[in-house]
C-alpha cells in the first residue's frame, strides 16, 4: 500500500495561493527539472503512508487521504484541537505535539486524540475567593501532584506546567496566570499526568480569578462608562449619523492621528 502511495508526485498544497504566485521564467524551468520531493514513511494509527518529508502531521494525515472531523481546528496553534501522541523508531519514549505545528519524521508512529476526557467543575465566579480556597474547593486533586514534571514535558507550548500546578498549591494565583497564559487547552498534560490532574482547567480558573479580582482596574474605563451612560455622546452620534457621505469623508480625511509615542 505504501509503495503505491509513494508514486504520488510532489504534494500540491491544496490551498496554494493561485493569485499570489507570479512565477518567473527561471522558476518555471526549475520546476520542470524539479527534484522529486523527499518522502518519508509515517504510520497513521498503525497504517503506513508515504508523505512529503516537510509535512506537518496534519498535512500528512490529509495528504494520505483522511478528511479530519475531530482533530483539526484553527490549524495554527491556538485552539488545541489536534493533540497527537507519537513514537519514533528505536526510541522508547512517548512524544506529544500538536498535529498542526509538528513536522513528521521518518518512521513516526502517530495517533491523534479525538477528545480529552476532563472534568470541569461548575462554579460561580462571584462566589469564589482569589486564593488557595478556590483550588481546594474545585480541584483538590492538584494536591496529589508528585512533581514528576511529565506535564511540562508533554506541553507543546513548552509551558512550565508543573510549576504552575505547584504555584496553585501555594495559592499563588498570579504565578499560575502568568505561567499558564499561553495554554491552548490541548489536554496533553492531563492525559500524561499520574496524579490525574486537569492542569489546563486549573490554569483557566486561575486566569479568570486574576482577571476578575487581582488585575488592577482602569479609572479611564469607569469615567468613559459614566460619560456614555449620561448620554454625553448622543448629540454627536445623531449628527454623525445624519451627515452626508461627502461631509463624513471630509471629516474623516481631516482627522488628526495620535502619535505613536507613549
Amino acid at each position: 500500500m505504501s509503495q503505491k502511495i509513494a508514486k504520488k508526485k510532489m504534494a500540491k498544497n491544496p490551498h496554494l495561493a493561485v493569485e499570489t504566485a507570479p512565477r518567473t521564467k527561471a522558476m518555471e524551468k526549475e520546476e520542470v527539472a524539479a527534484v522529486p520531493t523527499k518522502m518519508v514513511t509515517v504510520y497513521i494509527m498503525g497504517k503506513a503512508y508515504k508523505v512529503p518529508a516537510e509535512s506537518t502531521i496534519m498535512g500528512a494525515i490529509e495528504y494520505a487521504g483522511y478528511q479530519i472531523k475531530r482533530g483539526a481546528g484553527c490549524r495554527e496553534g491556538f485552539c488545541g484541537a489536534c493533540a497527537t501522541v507519537y513514537r519514533l523508531p528505536g526510541d522508547f519514549k512517548i512524544y506529544t505535539g500538536l498535529a498542526c505545528t509538528t513536522l513528521v519524521q521518518d518512521g513516526m508512529w502517530l495517533s491523534q486524540l479525538p477528545s480529552i476526557p476532563a472534568h470541569k467543575p461548575v462554579y460561580d465566579l462571584e462566589k469564589l475567593k482569589p486564593d488557595i480556597t478556590a483550588f481546594q474547593q474545585l480541584y483538590p486533586e492538584i494536591f496529589r501532584c508528585v512533581a514528576c514534571n511529565t506535564c511540562t514535558k508533554a506541553c507543546p507550548q513548552n509551558l512550565q506546567v508543573m510549576d504552575y500546578i505547584q504555584a496553585a498549591i501555594r495559592g499563588d494565583i498570579e504565578k499560575v496566570m502568568d505561567l499558564s497564559f499561553d495554554c491552548l487547552c490541548c489536554g496533553l498534560c492531563s492525559i500524561r499526568c499520574p496524579a490525574e490532574i486537569v492542569h489546563y482547567n486549573v490554569g483557566l480558573l486561575a486566569k479568570r480569578l486574576y482577571g476578575r479580582y487581582l488585575s488592577p482596574r482602569s479609572q479611564e474605563l469607569e469615567l468613559r462608562l459614566q460619560e456614555i451612560r449620561s448620554g454625553k455622546y448622543d448629540k454627536e452620534y445623531r449628527k454623525l449619523i445624519k451627515m452626508s457621505r461627502e461631509d463624513l469623508k471630509k471629516l474623516y480625511y481631516a482627522r488628526d492621528i495620535e502619535e505613536e509615542k507613549e
Binding site: 491556538f78 460561580d124 499561553d182 488585575s215 455622546y233
Partner: protein, 555 residues
C-alpha cells in the same frame, strides 16, 4: 531558516534598519499615508475584489441579480443536504427558547446574556465549542476608553475604514457598547494588558486615529474565547452545548417566523429537529472557501454555513461582493502559509519593506489598502521576494520592535508569533517575516439592524455571519468587538422576543421551494451546502474514491 538566495535581500533590510528606526522614533508617519484618491487607485488596480472575474450575478434567492463574490454565489446556488419530506416536524427531538447556531465568540456571548434574560438555549456547533476564528485573533479589540479618544471618534474611524458603506446604527452600537464590553469581559475574568497605573495598555491598529487596541498579549482571542466558553459551561442547566452537531437547515413556522433548525450529527449521521422560539445564527465567516485560491488565516470550520441556510429561508444578504485580505499572512515557511501575522506587529512598530529593504507604504493603512499596496509592490513593481514554492511576499521587519521597545518585548508581547517561527529556525527578534495578503474576513453577511434582527421574524444574526457593521472593509480589532457587542445584543433581544412568541405549524417548505427555484433558474449542479468541511484530499486520492454517491465535500 531562510534559504541562501534570500540572504542578499535580508542584508539590505538590515542595512536600512537604523534609518527606519530613526524615522519610527520620530513619532511621525514613516511613510506618507495615502490620500482618498491614491487609496481608490490602488484598490481598483490591485485589490482582488476588483479583478474582472471576481464577481458574478447570483441567479436565485432574496438577492437575485446582485453581483457577489463568485465563490459565494456558488455556495448559494447549491442543493440542500436533506430531503425535507422525510422529517416529521410535529415531533421535535428538542425544544428550547433559543437555538444558537455556532459555538464561537458571538454564540457563547449570546447564550450567557440570553440566560440572564431568562431564556434557555441550545448551542449547535459543528466542531467543538470555541472552535472558531474568535479563538485565533491575536492583536486585540478596539474600544474607545482613553481620555484623548471617544466613541464617536471610533465611529468615524470605523465608517471611514469601511468606505462609508457601513450601516450607521450598527457602527453606533459597535462603538458605543465598546467600553461596556471591556468591562464585561474583565468582570468575567479576561486579563487585559495593563499600564502600571492600572489603565489598559492600548496600541494603534490600521486605520485608527487613536490608540485603542486592548490586548491580552498576542493570545487575545484565545483568552476571551476560553473565558466565554468556561462561563457557558458553568450553566449546564440553562445552556445545552451540542458539539459536532451543525445546523444544516432552518425550520420556519407557517406564519413565516424562524422556529429552530435541523441538526446533523457529524459522527452518527443522524438528523435532529430542534424547535426554538428564536434562532441566532453565529456561524462566523467563509475563509475556508479559499476565494480566488488564496491561503487563509481562518479556522477549519469557516465555510459560510450560516449564509446559505439563512438565504434559503429568505434572509437578505449585504455586501457579499467584498472580501477582506489580511495584509500580512505568512508565505514562508510553506507549512504555515496563510498564518495570520497580527496587525499588532505593525502597531508596535514593525514595518513592511520590499526586497531592497525600502518602505513602500504607510504601515497602518486600512487593511484593504495595505493589502492592495503589498500586492502592487510584488506584482507590478516586482519588488517582492519569491519563496522556493513559488509564492511571493514582502518583509515584515519585526526586529525593529525590540530596538524600539527593548529586548524581551517580543517574547512578552508576541509569544505566539515567536513560537510559530522559531519552530522553523526563524528568530523574529533578529530576522523579519516574509508575508503576503491572506484571505481573512467576510466583510458582508446576513443583513441585521442594531437589535441583530433580520428580515425574518425570530431570526437573529451576530458576529462575522452578519453584514453591515463593517461596510466593505473591517478595521483591525473591530471583529473581536463585533462578536461581543452583537453576540450580547442578539442574546438579549432574542430572549425578549422568545418570551412572547407562540409558534405555529413547523415547516421546511422554504427548502423545497428553494430547490424548485434552482430548477426553474436552470442551475444544474452537484454542489451541496452548507459544505460543513473543506476538502483537502489530494487529487490522487480522490481518483480512487469511487463510492457511487458522495454528499458534497463530506466523505
Amino acid at each position: 531558516m531562510y534559504p541562501e538566495y534570500m540572504r542578499p535581500s535580508l542584508k539590505k533590510v538590515e542595512e536600512t534598519r537604523p534609518r527606519r528606526l530613526e524615522l519610527q522614533k520620530s513619532g511621525k508617519p514613516v511613510f506618507p499615508p495615502m490620500t482618498a484618491q491614491e487609496r481608490e487607485e490602488v484598490l481598483k488596480k490591485f485589490h482582488p475584489d476588483y479583478r474582472p472575474d471576481a464577481l458574478r450575478q447570483v441567479r436565485i434567492g432574496p438577492n437575485k441579480g446582485e453581483l457577489m463574490t463568485r465563490e459565494v454565489a456558488d455556495l448559494l446556488e447549491s442543493h440542500t443536504r436533506i430531503d425535507p419530506t422525510k422529517f416529521d416536524l410535529s415531533r421535535p427531538d428538542f425544544e428550547t427558547d433559543i437555538l444558537i447556531i455556532g459555538g464561537g465568540g458571538a454564540g457563547c456571548a449570546a447564550a450567557i446574556i440570553a440566560r440572564q434574560h431568562g431564556a434557555k438555549s441550545i448551542i449547535s456547533t459543528k466542531l467543538r465549542l470555541g472552535d472558531a476564528n474568535s479563538m485565533m485573533s491575536q492583536g486585540g479589540m478596539q474600544a474607545a476608553v482613553t481620555p484623548q479618544d471617544s466613541p464617536t471618534r471610533h465611529y468615524l474611524d470605523a465608517i471611514g475604514g469601511g468606505h462609508f458603506d457601513n450601516k450607521p446604527e450598527l457602527v453606533r452600537a459597535l462603538t458605543e457598547d465598546g467600553p461596556e464590553v471591556v468591562k464585561w469581559l474583565e468582570d468575567l475574568g479576561v486579563i487585559w494588558d495593563k499600564r502600571p497605573d492600572g489603565n489598559n495598555y492600548v496600541l494603534h491598529g490600521g486605520g485608527t486615529s487613536r490608540r485603542r487596541m486592548h490586548s491580552c498579549r498576542d493570545y487575545t482571542g484565545a483568552i476571551i474565547m476560553r473565558t466565554l466558553m468556561d462561563e457557558v459551561r458553568n450553566h449546564p442547566e440553562d445552556i445545552t452545548v451540542m458539539e459536532f452537531m451543525p445546523t444544516v437547515e432552518l425550520i420556519m413556522d407557517h406564519h413565516g417566523r424562524c422556529a429552530g433548525g435541523i441538526l446533523y450529527n457529524l459522527e452518527t449521521e443522524e438528523y435532529f429537529i430542534v424547535k426554538a422560539k428564536a434562532t441566532i445564527i453565529a456561524t462566523g465567516g467563509f475563509g475556508r472557501l479559499h476565494i480566488r485560491g488564496f491561503d487563509t488565516t481562518n479556522h477549519y470550520g469557516a465555510t459560510g454555513d450560516g449564509l446559505i441556510i439563512a438565504y434559503r429561508a429568505g434572509a437578505k444578504l449585504l455586501y457579499m461582493d467584498s472580501v477582506q485580505y489580511h495584509p500580512t499572512g505568512a508565505v514562508f515557511p510553506e507549512q504555515i502559509a496563510g498564518f495570520l501575522i497580527t496587525e499588532k506587529i505593525r502597531g508596535a512598530g514593525g514595518q513592511p519593506v520590499n526586497r531592497h529593504g525600502e518602505l513602500f507604504v504607510f504601515p497602518k493603512e486600512p487593511r484593504d489598502v495595505e493589502s492592495a499596496a503589498i500586492i502592487r509592490e510584488c506584482l507590478e513593481r516586482k519588488n517582492g521576494i519569491e519563496t522556493p514554492s513559488g509564492r511571493v511576499g514582502v518583509w515584515l521587519d519585526s526586529p525593529l520592535i525590540e530596538m524600539l521597545h527593548g529586548e524581551g518585548y517580543i517574547a512578552k508581547n508576541f509569544p505566539a508569533m515567536y513560537r510559530q517561527f522559531i519552530r522553523y529556525g526563524i528568530d523574529i527578534t533578529k530576522e523579519p517575516m516574509l508575508t503576503y495578503p491572506s484571505l481573512h474576513y467576510q466583510n458582508g453577511g446576513i443583513e441585521i439592524n442594531e437589535r441583530c434582527e433580520t428580515n425574518i421574524p425570530g431570526l437573529y444574526v451576530a458576529g462575522e455571519a452578519s453584514g453591515g457593521v463593517h461596510g466593505r472593509n473591517r478595521l483591525m480589532g473591530n471583529s473581536v468587538l463585533d462578536y461581543n457587542v452583537f453576540g450580547r445584543r442578539a442574546g438579549k433581544y432574542a430572549a425578549e422576543y422568545a418570551k412572547n412568541v407562540k409558534l405555529g405549524r413547523l415547516t421546511l417548505d422554504h427548502v423545497l421551494n428553494y430547490e424548485k427555484e434552482l430548477k426553474r433558474a436552470g442551475i444544474k449542479t452537484d454542489r451541496i451546502a452548507p459544505i460543513l468541511l473543506p476538502l483537502y484530499t489530494p487529487e490522487e486520492v480522490r481518483k480512487r474514491q469511487l463510492t457511487a454517491k458522495y454528499e458534497g465535500t463530506l466523505r
